[in-house]
C-alpha cells in the first residue's frame, strides 16, 4: 500500500511563496532575476555614487619584490593619479597570496578599495597540485578582498575579475556568505551585493554566481541547527527552492518506505520521533539515461547506541552529503544543463531511544544481501545501500554518483576522497576539481577492503568489518549495491573550512561545485558525441 505525496511544482510555488524567503534567505530572491535585471542594477549602482558603502576589489600580481597591476587596477590607478602605485610602494613586501589590505580615498565612486594579491602572473595548471592555479589564485585574491571589505561593512562590492570572472564570482559569493539565520535583526550584518567591475565576461560571472550561490545554499542547509532542519524541513527547503526552477521534487513518507521494504532507512530512523522521508528530485534537461545522485541525509546523527562524544556530535554536520546533492541539482537546473539527473536522498534522524538500532541487528537490503550492524555510528552506509539499489532499479542510470561521509570523524580538510570503478569518470571528476579548486583525491577501491567487510560466517556484509581503514571499507561496502559506472565521494574531511574564501569553522558545502562542474562537462561531452542518438526515454515515475 504505497502512499505518496506528490507536489507539483506549480502548486507549490503558489502555496509556499511566503515561506520561500524564510527558508532560503541566504539564496535570496535575486536568484530568479535575469541577467538583464542585474545589469541594470549594476549600472544604476555605478551612477549612484553612494561613496563609503560600496567597495572595490582589485588584484596585483606579485613576483618576489615586484608588483604588477592588472589592467583594471592600472585603469583605476591612472584615474586616481597613481595613488595605488603609491600605496604599493610604501608597502614593504608583505602582500602575499591570500592577503589583502584596504585603502580609501582612491576614486570617487568607491569608498574602500581592497588591494589583494594574485600571486605570480599566470602560473597555469600545476600537475603536482592537480590544480589550475591561475583560477585558484583569482579565487584566493577575490576571497581575501571581499572578506576584507565585508569586515568593513561594505554593502556593495565590485570585483575586478583578473581574467577569470567565473572563478571570481564563485569566490566572491562564497567569501561574502555568513550564516546569520538566528541572529536577531540588530546584530545581523547587512547582506552584501556583489558585482563584476567592468562589463567584460558578464556571462561567465553569472554562471559563477550560480555555482557560488548553490554552494552557499548547501552550506546553509548543513549549518542549520538540527531542530530547525528536521527531515520534513529539509524536504520542504528542497521543494521551495528547486520546484520553481523546474525540478520535479517528490517526498515519500514512512508508509511508502515500508511498502518498498527499505529496512535500512527505517531501522536508522527508528530511534527518532521524526519520520523518515525519501526525497526524489528529477531534472530532465535531456532524455538520455539519467545520472543517479544519491546521498545520505541524516539531519542529526548522535551515533545511535554507539554514542558519539559531545565534541564529535556537535560538529557532525551529517546532512552535508544531501545538501551537496541538492546544490548540484540547483546549479544544473538554473544553468539549464542538458542532462537527465535523478537524485535519491533518504532523510532521517538518528537518535537513541527504546527502539533504536542496536549493534548486532541484521537488516535485509533491497538486493537481498543481509547487512549486520556492528557499529551504529556507521549508519550512512545502510541508508545509501537502500537509496542506491532503489535508484538503480528504478531509473537504470548511466552513471551513479553518491556523496556521503562514511567516517564518523573527519580526516584532513584538503580534499574530498573519491572511489570509483571507472578510470575515465575518475579523470573527469579530478579535472573538474582542478578547475573549481575543490579537489578530489582517489583512494583504493580494492578487494582487500571487500574481504574485510565480508569476513563473517553468519551474514553477507558487516557495516564495520575487521580492518581499520573506515573510509575504504565503507566504499567497499557500497560497492556491493552498485553495478555500472560509479563514483563515490566521501566528504568526511571537508565538512568545514579548507580555503581562504571559505569561512573557517563554518560548513563548507564541498564539493558541490566540483560535482556540478563534472556533470556539466559530461552533458557537454554527451552533446558532442551522440547529438543524433535516439533517446530512449524511460517514462517519469510519479507513483
Amino acid at each position: 500500500m504505497g502512499y505518496t505525496k506528490l507536489f507539483s511544482s506549480k502548486n507549490l510555488w503558489r502555496v509556499n511563496f511566503g515561506r520561500l524567503f524564510r527558508y532560503c534567505s541566504s539564496v535570496g530572491p535575486s536568484e530568479c532575476n535575469t541577467a538583464a535585471e542585474k545589469k541594470s542594477k549594476n549600472e544604476a549602482q555605478d551612477t549612484n555614487t553612494e561613496g563609503n558603502k560600496s567597495g572595490l576589489v582589485i588584484g596585483v600580481y606579485e613576483d618576489k619584490d615586484k608588483f604588477e597591476l592588472t589592467p583594471i587596477a592600472e585603469e583605476i590607478n591612472q584615474r586616481s593619479g597613481g595613488k595605488i602605485c603609491g600605496y604599493l610602494n610604501e608597502l614593504s613586501c608583505q602582500l602575499k597570496l591570500g592577503k589583502a589590505f584596504v585603502v580609501t580615498d582612491v576614486v570617487p565612486e568607491f569608498g574602500p578599495v581592497a588591494i589583494s594579491s594574485l600571486g605570480k602572473k599566470d602560473p597555469g595548471y600545476n600537475k603536482l597540485e592537480e590544480l589550475d592555479e591561475t583560477r585558484e589564485n583569482v579565487r584566493v585574491m577575490v576571497g581575501a578582498g571581499v572578506r576584507a571589505l565585508c569586515e568593513r561593512g561594505c554593502a556593495r562590492v565590485s570585483v575586478c575579475a583578473a581574467g577569470a570572472p567565473h572563478a571570481a564570482a564563485e569566490a566572491a559569493h562564497l567569501a561574502a556568505w555568513r550564516f546569520e539565520e538566528f541572529k536577531s535583526s540588530t546584530d545581523r550584518h547587512q547582506e552584501v551585493q556583489l558585482f563584476l567591475h567592468g562589463s567584460e565576461g558578464q556571462e561567465e560571472w553569472d554562471t559563477g554566481v550560480v555555482y557560488g550561490q548553490s554552494q552557499n545554499w548547501a552550506r546553509y542547509l548543513t549549518d542549520m541547527p538540527p531542530n530547525k532542519m528536521t527531515p520534513v524541513d529539509f524536504a520542504q527547503a528542497a521543494l521551495d527552492t528547486l520546484c520553481p526552477l523546474g525540478v520535479h521534487v517528490t517526498a515519500h513518507e514512512r508508509a511508502w518506505l515500508e511498502a518498498q521494504r527499505m529496512h535500512g532507512v527505517l531501522a536508522v530512523a527508528a530511534g527518532s520521533c521524526e519520520a523518515p522521508l525519501l526525497l526524489e528530485c528529477t531534472w530532465r534537461g535531456a532524455d538520455n539515461p539519467p545520472v543517479l545522485l544519491a546521498a545520505d541525509g541524516l539531519t542529526f546523527d548522535c551515533g545511535g547506541l554507539c554514542l558519539r562524544s559531545a565534541r564529535d556530535m556537535h560538529g557532525a554536520r551529517s546532512v552535508a552529503g544531501a545538501a551537496v546533492v541538492l546544490a548540484v541539482m540547483r546549479t544544473l537546473a538554473i544553468l539549464k544543463v542538458p542532462l537527465h539527473v535523478r537524485a535519491v536522498i533518504p532523510l532521517c534522524e538518528q537518535l537513541v531511544s527504546g527502539h533504536c538500532l542496536k549493534p548486532g541487528d541484521v537488516l535485509p537490503a533491497l538486493n537481498g544481501l543481509h547487512m549486520q550492524v556492528e557499529d551504529t555510528d556507521l549508519e550512512s552506509q545502510l541508508l545509501l545501500a537502500d537509496a542506491l539499489v532503489y535508484g538503480q532499479a528504478m531509473y537504470k542510470p548511466a552513471l551513479v554518483i553518491d556523496v556521503a561521509s562514511l567516517a564518523p570523524v573527519g580526516a584532513s580538510c584538503a580534499c574530498a576522497c573519491v572511489f570509483t570503478n571507472s578510470e575515465h569518470v575518475c579523470r573527469g571528476a579530478r579535472d573538474a576539481g582542478a578547475r573549481t579548486g575543490d579537489r578530489l583525491w582517489r583512494l583504493p577501491l580494492w578487494d582487500y577492503y571487500r574481504r574485510q567487510v565480508r569476513d563473517d560466517p553468519s551474514v553477507d556484509l558487516r557495516n564495520k568489518g575487521s580492518g581499520t581503514a573506515t573510509i575504504c571499507k565503507g566504499a567497499a561496502f557500497l560497492k556491493h549495491f552498485v553495478c555500472g559506472e560509479w563514483l563515490h565521494v566521501d566528504t568526511s574531511g571537508v565538512r568545514a573550512g579548507g580555503a581562504v574564501y571559505l569561512r573557517p569553522g563554518r560548513a563548507a558545502g564541498r564539493p558541490a561545485r566540483t560535482i556540478a562542474a563534472f556533470l556539466a562537462d559530461t552533458a557537454l561531452a554527451d552533446k558532442h558525441t551522440d547529438s543524433h542518438a535516439d533517446n530512449h526515454a524511460d517514462s517519469p515515475r510519479d507513483s
Binding site: 600537475k127 603536482l128 597540485e129 592537480e130 567516517a407 573527519g410 580526516a411 584532513s412 580538510c413 584538503a414 580534499c415 570503478n421 578510470e423 583525491w441 583512494l443 583504493p444 577501491l445 580494492w446 578487494d447 582487500y448 577492503y449 574485510q452 569476513d455 575487521s466 580492518g467 581499520t468 581503514a469 573506515t470 573510509i471 575504504c472 571499507k473 574531511g493
Partner: protein, 532 residues
C-alpha cells in the same frame, strides 16, 4: 660486558641470511641420487595447483600443467582424490598422502580462474598474486609436517611462486630454545618441473630480502640497538663488496645534523650514522640514494606512546631494514646501478636529554625546525639525511620510514603511502608495485599541507601541524622542504609494517618487511630508463 655478549649472539643468529662461501655455482637444481626403493623416509612435500572457474558449466576445474604431469605419474590417483571434495578455490588447499613413491604428501592449492590478468582498478597483476597465494598457502600447509624439502611447481611464473613460498614459510623463532617442539625448521624450497631457474632465484632472493627486513624488525630492541644493527650491516654487506661507513654522533654534529643529534642523545645507546655504498656501475653514474629511518626503539620520548603502540615499536627501524635488504639484494643480483644507502640509527627514549616540546633545532639546510611534537622524530632524521644526500648528486632519492599512525585509519594494511615530486618516478613505483603485489598508493603532496607546517611562529617549519589530521601528508610536506631539486619518493610505511596475519595469506602474523620487494623490482625498472 652485557651488551657485547648480546651483540655477539644476534650476529650468530643472522647466519641464516649469510651467503655460503663456495666456488661452486649451480645452474640448475641440485642433482641427487634417486632410488625409489631406498626412500624409506619420505619427508618430501610437493605443492601443485588447480584452476577452478566457477563460470564454466560442467567442470570448471583443471590441474596446472605440472599437476597433470604428476597426476599421470601417479596413475590418476591425484585427480580421483581431488574430485571427491569440492575443488579448492583461491586461498584453499587440500593435502593428499602417499600418492607416489617420491613424495610423502602433496598439497594442491587453488589458483582461482585461469583468466586472471592485470586489473586496473586493483592496480595489481592478479595472476601473479594468485600464484603467490597458492604457493604460499601450499608450502605453509606442508611445513607443519616438518619436511626436509618442499618442491613447489612454478604455476606458470616461477618468480611469483618462489616469492610466495619463501615468504609464507618464514617465521621468526630465534629466541625459542632449540629443544622447543614448536620450532618448525626452515625447509628447503625447490622448484619442481620447470626450467625457469633464473626467475625462481630472483623471486627467492626478493622474498629472502624481505625476510631479512622482517628479521631485523622482529629483533628485540635490547638486542638490536644502533651498534648491533651497524655490526649486522658490516657482517652482511661487506662480504658482498658493499662499503659500510659508520659514523658517530660527533661526526653528525659537525655536519650540522641537528635532528639526528637531538634524537640520538635521548638514549644511552650511542646513535650511529651508517652509510652503505654499492658500486655496480661505473663511477660516472649518478647514484640512487636510499634513506631508511632507523629508530631501533621509538618510545615517543616525552609524548610517550600508549602500551599497544609501544609493543610494536621494536619494528620502527623498518625503513633502515628495508634499505639494508634492498642494497644487499641489488649487490647479489649485481645490478648495474650505484646505490648509496643512508641509515640514521638511533633510539628514542624519555630521559633527561630527550627532545622536548617546543625545542628548536637547525640543520645543514639552514631552516630552523620547531619540534612541536617530539614523538614525530623520524622526519627529523630523514630531513637531515635528505640534506646530506645532496653531496652525492643523486639520480633519485627514495626514503622509507614508519612516519604517521594516521595511515592505519586511512589506508589500512593494503598499501603504503607514496609521496613524490616526479611523475615518472611514480610510474615506475606504481608498475613495480603492481608486479610484486606489495602495493603503494599515491597521496597528495600539496601546498595546502606545506602551509600547515610552515604555520609556526618560533621557527621556519614545524615538524607537524597544529591540526590532528593529515599527519602523514604533513610529514611529506615537511620533508619536501629539505629536498632541493632531486627527484624524490617518500614511502610512509607505518600502516604496513605490522600485520595480524589476515592481510596476505603469504605473510604470517608479525612484522612484514614491506615494501622491500617493490623497491627491488623498481630498481629493475629503473635500469631500463637511461634518461633518469
Amino acid at each position: 660486558m652485557f651488551h657485547y655478549r648480546n651483540s655477539i649472539r644476534c650476529i650468530r643468529c643472522i647466519s641464516q641470511f649469510k651467503i655460503p662461501r663456495s666456488d661452486c655455482v649451480s645452474y640448475g637444481p641440485p642433482k641427487r641420487v634417486n632410488d625409489p626403493k631406498l626412500c624409506a623416509i619420505r619427508d618430501k612435500g610437493l605443492v601443485l595447483g588447480v584452476y577452478f572457474n566457477e563460470n564454466v558449466k560442467d567442470d570448471g576445474a583443471i590441474l596446472t600443467a605440472s599437476g597433470q604431469k604428476y597426476d599421470k605419474q601417479c596413475g590418476g590417483k591425484l585427480w580421483n582424490q581431488l574430485k571427491l571434495t569440492p575443488i579448492p578455490r583461491l586461498g584453499e588447499y587440500r593435502i593428499f598422502y602417499d600418492l607416489d613413491s617420491t613424495y610423502g604428501y602433496v598439497a594442491v592449492a587453488g589458483l582461482g580462474t585461469e583468466c586472471l590478468s592485470f586489473n586496473t582498478i586493483e592496480q595489481l597483476d592478479e595472476s601473479k598474486e594468485a600464484i603467490r597465494i597458492a604457493a604460499g598457502i601450499g608450502a605453509r600447509a606442508l611445513q607443519k609436517f616438518k619436511p626436509s624439502v618442499i618442491h613447489v611447481e612454478s604455476f606458470g611464473n616461477a618468480e611469483a611462486a618462489a616469492e610466495g613460498a619463501t615468504l609464507s614459510t618464514w617465521k621468526f623463532q630465534e629466541y625459542k630454545s632449540p629443544s622447543n617442539k614448536e620450532i618448525v625448521p626452515n625447509a628447503e624450497i625447490e622448484l619442481f618441473d620447470d626450467c625457469d631457474f633464473y626467475g625462481w632465484k630472483i623471486g627467492a632472493l626478493k622474498a629472502a630480502s624481505q625476510n631479512l627486513a622482517r628479521y631485523l624488525q622482529e629483533m628485540p630492541p635490547n638486542y638490536l640497538n644502533p651498534t648491533s644493527f651497524a655490526k649486522i650491516a658490516v657482517e652482511l654487506l661487506c662480504e658482498l663488496n658493499i662499503n659500510v661507513e659508520i659514523k658517530t654522533q660527533g661526526w653528525a654534529a659537525s655536519h650540522e645534523m641537528g635532528g639526528f643529534v637531538a634524537i640520538g642523545k635521548s638514549s644511552i645507546q650511542p646513535p650511529l650514522y651508517v652509510e652503505i655504498s654499492y658500486f655496480g656501475a661505473d663511477e660516472c653514474t649518478r647514484p640512487i640514494v636510499l634513506i631508511g629511518k632507523g629508530v631501533t626503539f621509538d618510545s615517543g620520548s616525552l609524548d610517550l606512546k600508549p602500551m599497544r603502540d609501544l609493543m610494536l615499536m621494536k619494528g620502527d627501524m623498518a625503513g633502515a631494514a628495508c634499505v639494508l635488504a634492498i642494497t644487499r639484494a641489488a649487490a647479489i643480483l649485481k645490478l648495474p646501478v650505484n646505490i648509496r644507502g643512508i641509515l640514521p640509527l638511533c633510539e628514542l627514549m624519555p630521559s633527561g636529554r630527550c627532545p622536548k616540546f617546543g625545542d628548536v633545532i637547525s640543520n645543514a639546510h639552514g631552516k630552523s625546525i620547531h619540534i612541536r611534537v617530539p614523538s614525530r622524530e623520524g622526519r627529523l632524521l630523514i630531513a637531515d639525511s635528505l640534506v646530506y644526500a645532496r653531496n652525492y648528486w643523486p639520480k633519485a632519492i627514495l626514503d622509507i620510514g614508519t612516519m604517521s599512525k594516521e595511515l592505519i585509519y586511512s589506508l589500512g594494511g593494503a598499501a603504503c603511502a607514496c609521496y613524490t615530486n616526479s611523475e615518472e618516478l611514480f610510474c615506475y613505483v606504481s608498475t613495480a608495485s603492481s608486479q610484486t603485489g606489495d602495493r603503494i598508493w599515491r597521496m597528495p603532496l600539496w601546498k595546502y599541507y606545506e602551509e600547515r607546517i610552515k604555520d609556526c611562529e618560533t621557527a621556519d617549519v614545524a615538524n607537524t601541524s597544529r591540526d590532528d589530521f593529515g599527519d602523514s601528508a604533513n610529514c611529506a610536506a615537511f620533508l619536501k622542504q629539505f629536498v632541493c631539486d632531486s627527484k624524490w619518493v617518500h614511502f610512509d610505511t607505518y600502516n604496513v609494517a605490522y600485520t595480524r596475519g589476515h592481510d596476505f595469506p603469504y605473510l604470517q602474523r608479525g612484522m612484514t618487511g614491506r615494501p622491500t620487494r617493490t623497491v627491488i623490482e623498481m630498481m629493475f625498472q629503473l635500469l631500463a630508463d637511461s634518461k633518469l
